[in-house]
């Protein structure tokens, strides 16, 4: 069985600052994908960024980047130049060979003006 753990239930950051959300996972598979999703109050799950496990280069998407440490099974999300619209729940997720996503418990991020 695979598990995903987010150790920070809540985080806050000042607008324009940088924040890092932590995620660790456990899997016996060698080929998998990792994801960060954003969930605003609308409930829609929005893909922020994804990482292929066999790629060593960390994924980046504009202000969002990851620090993927495969040996440590760590997958943290860095948000640079935080904006008020980044306020949301953030979920780390991993899929297995059967395509099913396993989610962490989430981190509630508040960006303060």
């Amino acid at each position: 069985a695979q598990t995903v753990t987010q150790s920070q239930p809540e985080m806050s950051v000042q607008e324009a600052e940088t924040v890092t959300l932590s995620c660790t996972y456990d899997t016996s598979e060698n080929n998998y994908y990792l994801f960060w999703y954003k969930q605003p109050p609308s409930r829609q799950m929005i893909l922020v960024i994804r990482q292929e496990a066999y790629k060593q280069q960390n994924a980046t998407e504009n202000r969002f980047s990851v620090n993927f440490q495969k040996a440590a099974k760590s997958f943290s999300l860095k948000i640079s130049d935080s904006q008020l619209g980044d306020t949301a729940m953030y979920f780390c997720a991993q899929n297995n060979a059967g395509n099913m996503l396993t989610f962490g418990g989430g981190t509630r991020l508040m960006v303060k003006p």
Binding site: R43, F91, G98, N99, M100, L101, G106
Partner: protein
């Protein structure tokens, strides 16, 4: 359609009644997933359909929960004899591969 559509958006039901939640996935997506999200919590896997294969029902919490997917498209999640602990947001997602997941906006179920 352009996205995953779920209906109803909100549902209030009396304890003991049966409810049906509907998910209309993106056309062409072979995989369909149901998740449950309790207030302020993460997403709990319920059931997964992949093409014509037998569904993975390993996440269903009790035999009061069942789901079907007709014609490889629309799926219905049924909860029989609802209990207050069933109150949650039920999210559906579909995908055609291991990276392209699209989620619906969910159904908020409240059992009173």
């Amino acid at each position: 359609g352009a996205g995953v559509s779920q209906s109803p958006s909100n549902k209030v039901t009396e304890k003991g009644k049966d409810v049906e939640l509907r998910c209309d996935p993106i056309s062409g997506h072979t995989a369909l997933y149901w998740y449950r999200q309790s207030l302020g919590q993460g997403l709990e896997f319920l059931i997964y359909f992949q093409g014509n294969s037998a569904p993975d029902k390993s996440g269903l919490p009790s035999d009061r929960f069942s789901a079907e997917r007709t014609g490889g498209s629309v799926s219905t999640l049924t909860i029989q004899r609802t209990q207050q602990e069933d109150s949650a947001v039920y999210l559906c997602a579909s995908s055609f591969d291991r990276v392209g997941y699209t989620f619906g906006s969910g159904t908020r179920l409240t059992v009173v």
